[in-house]
Structure formats: structure tokens, C-alpha cells
């Protein structure tokens, strides 16, 4: 189990996070939702100390770290047991996809090169990009880069995978492939903390959803509770801004059926498209 406790952070006197804490069970996928500027990313970045919180504790497998006063060694330890997927992918641009995934294995985990390469290729295969191993980030689409970034993060066997709006920087037609990769990582049992504005995705992947606003947890619960039966006005207001996505439709079954129909319709449409393309 991973416990994150009492994280606070102020920027220039403005309190972005005010004592936020979550417990995450192994294999759980926790999603953080909330309006922009409400501290979701700061919370994530405070956990692996890319941001230095004013207060906060992290407990991983019984070992507790004081996030506000972590030593250099503790910082490295924390970062080695968590992994981060960034909104902007942040693949090292002077390294190929394979080298990017190998980097942490050889430099941080100090695996011999051939072992690191085998592991990296396996991770790339899992995200469907083994064939792209020798490509540099600039040769890959945004979605492919993000999948390599996910492979890189998973190669480190993190206790907690942090995903900071992993699909926000993608072209709409690339969102799907990345979401599927993340869903597969979740199915594989990875413990995740996800920040996302894609409510449909959050609903389908999260085991628990946390609504953060004004630096505090306002409401939390299962996706069904949060999307189907929001208790607070603030959550209702927030969700209503996504209404056109149809994601806070009350009643999970109805929406499940609806999505099935939509998918069938999409398939048919694409089959027609394919036929049309072949005809040309």
C-alpha cells in the first residue's frame, strides 16, 4: 500500500494544495479530476519531488519519507519507486525509442546492456512499438511517443505510476491508442495515479475517482458514485461542463449500452470507409 499524506504547497503565497492525502491500494487506479489550476499536477509532481511541497509525507511499503525535507538519497529512492508519464512525453530527443526505454535500466538500475535491451524491447512490444525501436522521437507521432514514454516508465517496475494528463497534448485521433495502452497497463496490475480531463476514460479505467478543487479533496468515490451520483454542487458543476461528452450520464448500464452501440456504429462506418478506399 502507498500512503500520501498531507501535501501542501504554496506558490507566491497562493495555496495550491492544502493538506491533500490519499491511500492507494496495490493494483488500484486512482484518478484525480478537477478544474484547471486546482493543484492536480502539483500534487502528482510533489509525490516524486519534481516539485518540492511545503509539507507532505509518502509511505511506500512501510517506509515513510518526509517529502518537504527529503535528502538527496531519499529523493532518488522515491523517484526510483515511482515513475512519471508527462503530458509532453519528454522522451530524450537525442535517443531512439529503444535507448529511451533502456536509459533508466542501464543508468539507474545498472542492468547489463543486453539484459536492459531485452527488457526494453519487451516493454516496447507491450505498447505495440517494437518495430519502431530505432526511431527517434522526432520520427514518431505524439501518440507513439507517449506510448514509448509509458514503456519507459513501466520498465522501471515502479510501485506507483504517475500519469500527468497523458493524453492532453495529443491530436484527438491519437488519444485512443494511448488510452488503450494505459488501460492495458492497469489490467496488468500496475498501481496508478492518473490526472486526466478525459472523463469517459477516467470512468472506464479508475477504481476510485478523487475530485480536487481549490487545493482540497472535495469528493471521492467509485466512478459510479462520482459520475452517477455526485453529492456536492461543485462536482456537479464541474461534471456538467463535460456534458457534451455524455460521460456523466446517470446510470452506468445505460451508458454502457450506449457506448456499445456507438462502437458498433463506428466499426460499420470505418468498414464502409475502408471499402470506399479500396474502390479508389
Amino acid at each position: 500500500m502507498i500512503s500520501i499524506r498531507n501535501i501542501s504547497k504554496s506558490f507566491n503565497g497562493h495555496k495550491v494544495l492544502d493538506g491533500v492525502g490519499i491511500d492507494i491500494e496495490d493494483g488500484e487506479v486512482v484518478a484525480l479530476i478537477g478544474p484547471s489550476g486546482t493543484g492536480k499536477s502539483t500534487f502528482l509532481r510533489s509525490i516524486n519531488l519534481l516539485e518540492h511541497p511545503d509539507t507532505g509525507e509518502l509511505e511506500i511499503d512501510g517506509k515513510t519519507y518526509d517529502l518537504a525535507n527529503a535528502s538527496k538519497d531519499e529523493t532518488l529512492e522515491i523517484r526510483r519507486s515511482t515513475a512519471m508519464v508527462f503530458q509532453q512525453f519528454n522522451l530524450l530527443r537525442n535517443r531512439t525509442a529503444l535507448q529511451n526505454v533502456m536509459e533508466g535500466l542501464t543508468v539507474v538500475k545498472r542492468l547489463p546492456k543486453n539484459q536492459a535491451q531485452d527488457r526494453a524491447l519487451r516493454e516496447l512490444r507491450n505498447v505495440g512499438l517494437e518495430a519502431w525501436a530505432d526511431h527517434y522521437p522526432q520520427h514518431l507521432s505524439g501518440g507513439q511517443q507517449q506510448r514509448v514514454a509509458i514503456a519507459r516508465a513501466l520498465s522501471m517496475d515502479p510501485r506507483l505510476l504517475l500519469l500527468d494528463e497523458p493524453t492532453s497534448a495529443l491530436d484527438p485521433e491519437r488519444v485512443n491508442e494511448v488510452q488503450r495502452t494505459i488501460a492495458e497497463a492497469a489490467e496488468a496490475g500496475n498501481t496508478m495515479l492518473l490526472v486526466s480531463h478525459e472523463m469517459g476514460f477516467v470512468r472506464s479505467i479508475a477504481s476510485r475517482v478523487i475530485f480536487l478543487e481549490g487545493g482540497k479533496i472535495v469528493e471521492q468515490g467509485t466512478p459510479e458514485e462520482i459520475f452517477g451520483n455526485p453529492h456536492t454542487d461543485r462536482l456537479r458543476d464541474f461534471l456538467s461542463s463535460f456534458e457534451r461528452y455524455g460521460t456523466n450520464h446517470p446510470g452506468a448500464d445505460a451508458s454502457r449500452n450506449a457506448s456499445w452501440r456507438t462502437q458498433e456504429a463506428l466499426r460499420e462506418e470505418h468498414e464502409r470507409e475502408d471499402l470506399a478506399l479500396e474502390a479508389v
Binding site: R79, V107, N126, V175
Partner: protein
């Protein structure tokens, strides 16, 4: 026709001049290496804004870039002996100032001058590395020195290369002023030779050709290095990959190029089905 210009001499005297090329190269390499190392340290001070040293570096760069190299050479040639004499006086030592080879004064002056220019090039290159690259490396658990070695240096190096080459080319031509420190480099040797033959114009033409050829070579080396170090423009061919094993059928086997929804694999688990459905719906809503 009067013998005003001896075109042949321009080329025939080049071998004689080249006997002094090692002096020019020695000045260049020594001043270049010292300048690069010193410039790197100064650049780090400027990036980190180390107190006191930062302010000193600001003045240092401003003065060295703001005064002519020939003046700096004179100051080095006359100033360092005076400084050493004071040291003798203060410490009661008795070093022989005259035993210091003059080439050292020239090298020091050129190196300090180079360091100021290179520091600015390197500083700009370091700050030009995308912070996201550093965060990615840090989030993997790399130590600060690993991040410096594996991410900042290689990336900043590529960015700095053209500027450093520029600086180096400036240095090579700067060595032609080393005569003011009583160093007989290629240019000084040429002037001495021309002094006896009175073929000054031909001599300067020969020198121009030599310096230009050296610069041409350096430009080629720079371009080659840049090509070597930067990411190839062309994407490589895809690797031939064996089909994935059955358990791994679910991951996308090929990157969907366009309209990725159509390549959804057959869905048989309810969990994934819901997910895919929601995702598909979202795509629809977006369209």
C-alpha cells in the same frame, strides 16, 4: 611589364610559411582547450548564478569581450611579468621572470579571451535544453551528475557546437597577433621574410590563403561533427518484428496510422469492452 606583383611567389613561399604553422596551431589548440574548460566553468557559474562568482563573471565577460584582443595581448605580455615581480617581492622568492617563454603570455591572453566568448555560447546552450528533458531524467531516478552527463551535456553540446566553431575560427585568426608577445607565429614569420624581400603584398596573399584553407577545413570538421551528433532527419526503416504471442494479442500490434478506432481488437472481456466503448464514444463526441 614591370615586376610589380609576383603571382608565382604567392604559392611558392607557402611551404616556407608552413614551417611556422605548428606555432599557430600550438597557440590555437592550447588557447582553445584552456578557453573551453574555463568557459565551461564560467558558464556553469552563470547558469547556477553562484553568488559573488556570478558578479565577477559578469565583469570578466564584459571586459574581455569589450576590449581588443591586441590590447589584451599587450596587457598580458607587460602585465604578467610585473605581477610576477610583485609576487617575488611579497614572498621573498627569486623566480627568473625572463625564463618564462613568451608564448605563454600569448596563450594566456588568447585563452582568457576565448573563455569569455565560449562561456556565453555554452551558457546559452545549457539554458536552451528543454526542462522537460531534465524532468524526465530526474523522474527515472537519475542523480544530478547522471542528468548532467547523460542529458544536459550531450544536448547542450549539439546546440553549442556551431557557436564554439565560430569562436575557434576567431581564435585562429587571433593568433596572428601573437607577434606582440614576441612570438614568431606564421604571420610574424611572414612579416620577417617579407622584410628582406620587400614582397609584402605577396606575403599577405600567401598568409590569407593559408588561414582561409585552415578555416575551410575547420568548417568541414564542424559540419561533420554536427551531422554526427544530431538526430538523423530521415526516419530509419521499421524493424522486422515477429508476430506477438497469443496472450499479448491485445496490445496494438501496429501503430494505428489514422482513424485508430477501426483497429480495435476483438473485445471479449467486459472491462475492456466498457473502456473501448467509452473511448469510442468519446471519439465520436469529439468529432
Amino acid at each position: 611589364m614591370p615586376d610589380l606583383f609576383n603571382g608565382k611567389l604567392v604559392f611558392t613561399q607557402i611551404p616556407q610559411l608552413l614551417r611556422y604553422l605548428p606555432v599557430t596551431l600550438e597557440l590555437t589548440v592550447a588557447a582553445g582547450v584552456i578557453g573551453l574548460l574555463l568557459g565551461f566553468v564560467i558558464a556553469l557559474i552563470r547558469v547556477k548564478r553562484t553568488p559573488v562568482l556570478y558578479q565577477i563573471s559578469t565583469v570578466y565577460i564584459s571586459v574581455l569581450r569589450g576590449t581588443p584582443i591586441i590590447v589584451q595581448l599587450y596587457i598580458s605580455y607587460f602585465g604578467i611579468p610585473i605581477f610576477l615581480k610583485y609576487l617575488n617581492y611579497w614572498n621573498g622568492t627569486n623566480w627568473d621572470i625572463n625564463s618564462v617563454p613568451p608564448v605563454l603570455f600569448a596563450i594566456l591572453a588568447l585563452a582568457f579571451n576565448q573563455s569569455a566568448f565560449m562561456a556565453e555560447v555554452i551558457r546559452a546552450a545549457i539554458t536552451a535544453v528543454d526542462p522537460g528533458q531534465l524532468e524526465a531524467a530526474r523522474s527515472l531516478g537519475m542523480s544530478a551528475s547522471q542528468v548532467r552527463r547523460r542529458v544536459i551535456l550531450p544536448q547542450a553540446g549539439v546546440i553549442a557546437l556551431p557557436g564554439l566553431m565560430n569562436s575557434l575560427i576567431g581564435l585562429i585568426k587571433g593568433t596572428s597577433l601573437a607577434f606582440v608577445c614576441a612570438v614568431v607565429d606564421m604571420t610574424a614569420a611572414g612579416q620577417i621574410m617579407a622584410g628582406s624581400s620587400y614582397r609584402y603584398f605577396e606575403m599577405y596573399c600567401s598568409l590569407a590563403i593559408i588561414y582561409w584553407v585552415i578555416t575551410l577545413l575547420l568548417e568541414r570538421v564542424g559540419a561533420w561533427l554536427e551531422r554526427r551528433l544530431s538526430v538523423p532527419e530521415q526516419a530509419p526503416a521499421l524493424r522486422q518484428v515477429a508476430q506477438t504471442e497469443p496472450e499479448q494479442a491485445q496490445p496494438a500490434q501496429t501503430a494505428p496510422a489514422r482513424g485508430s478506432v477501426r483497429r480495435l481488437p476483438a473485445l471479449n472481456t467486459p472491462g475492456i469492452a466498457t473502456l473501448a466503448g467509452t473511448v469510442a464514444k468519446e471519439v465520436v463526441a469529439r468529432d
